[in-house]
Symmetry: C2
Subunit: 234 residues, 2 copies
């Protein structure tokens, strides 16, 4: 395909740019969903709680649009090497974004079932977890947008702290429930909120792995550094 | 590429077959992981509990192998139409399988933390849920292996019952915890087991959606039938 007229190559570049734009928009949306979901919980903000499930429709639509465009580019342009890897990464990353959107919506739907639970204690831990997860998600998206393998590598190595915060929070909340059975319902919702946050962090790590591979052509090791032994997917 | 010698076309078919074989093997493995994880919980079987995390390594390796092969086929063969859609579906489905393996491993790791909880009550509900999820997963894999859009459509419409069982179980377990705070720990693990099972069901539905699209070229509607309003991802 190397001898095609220049306008075709330009059009191909435009298509790739459009694909990148679609995925960047998806990234922005799921960041927004995550931020609003967290605000809904820690500030008990009813308006914020409504937003993530609403945005889900847009995220799903963007996923379909990006997937259709990627297939069209693959079929018509037969891209090679880095371009091909980037398109494959896009197809996988849109799946990660879609799951992140689901988890954020799930958090938002639980937000108002989580009563203040006597205040600072657990929301403090949750705020810390949320901050780390949001930072990782943001960095993963930046790495994707800028094809930055260094940045991707950093995200990939940094979800240990998130896992540790989750484990500490789990223990704390169980103790709390045992002391006061009336708090069981809200505590369970808060546990699921924390678990969903942790999974958003997992997907940020997945995105970082895919960006790293797309940019370098090398895969990161199968076993990433984690908090505690073999905690993956727990 | 239509005028290549016949032996090249044959080789292309062999590559596609190999790709299908890899994904079918992945499907078999995650079915096994799911079955063993459930056995670990409901039979309190320590040996069964060890298997899913062990198989995870194989599942991850197969995912990487399938992905590399898919990229090679895309780069060298520039497949069109159904072949192209099937390869894209494979790339997405391996991601679903990988997540299913994670969830099964997570269930297995919690299995022995779930004490019998006075027997039949909750394990009964869990067994029903597990049966439906396993049926859906099996049908989704069958649909994939046989390019069967009818079968895919059936899976897609049938996870409502799973969601309803999960919701009932959630309520039951909360009541149970309130009656006896010593059961809180085990009950929480059982809740997470049920949630993970429900998510395996979600991924079976995703797989069905992707098979349907690959085979027919049509996407199923964005909103699938669910138990309860807007329960997606909760």
């Amino acid at each position: 395909m190397g001898n095609e007229p220049a306008h075709t190559v330009t059009r191909y570049d435009q298509e790739l740019d459009r694909l990148r734009g679609l995925v960047a928009r998806m990234g922005g949306l799921v960041e927004r969903q995550t931020a609003q979901a967290i605000a809904a919980v820690v500030d008990q903000d009813e308006d914020a709680a409504l937003e993530p499930p609403e945005l889900d429709v847009e995220v799903d639509a963007l996923e379909r649009e990006a997937e259709s465009l990627a297939i069209r580019i693959l079929a018509l342009r037969a891209p090679m090497a880095v371009d091909l890897r980037v398109i494959i990464a896009v197809l996988k990353i849109t799946g990660d974004f879609e799951r992140i959107g689901d988890y954020a919506s799930s958090i938002a739907r639980r937000a108002l079932k989580v009563e203040p639970l006597d205040g600072a204690l657990s929301f403090g831990a949750l705020r810390n977890m949320a901050r780390l997860v949001q930072e990782n998600l943001h960095s993963a998206i930046e790495a994707m947008v800028n094809n930055d393998s260094e940045c991707a590598m950093q995200v990939w190595g940094s979800d240990t702290a998130i896992d540790e915060l989750y484990t500490a929070m789990f223990r704390e909340l169980v103790t709390y429930m045992m002391e006061d059975p009336r708090k069981i319902g809200p505590c369970i919702h808060l546990l699921f909120v924390a678990k969903n946050l942790e999974r958003i962090g997992d997907h940020a790590t997945n995105i970082a792995e895919r960006v790293y591979y797309a940019v370098t052509g090398e895969m990161l090791p199968a076993l990433r550094p984690r908090g505690g032994a073999a905690k993956k997917g727990s």
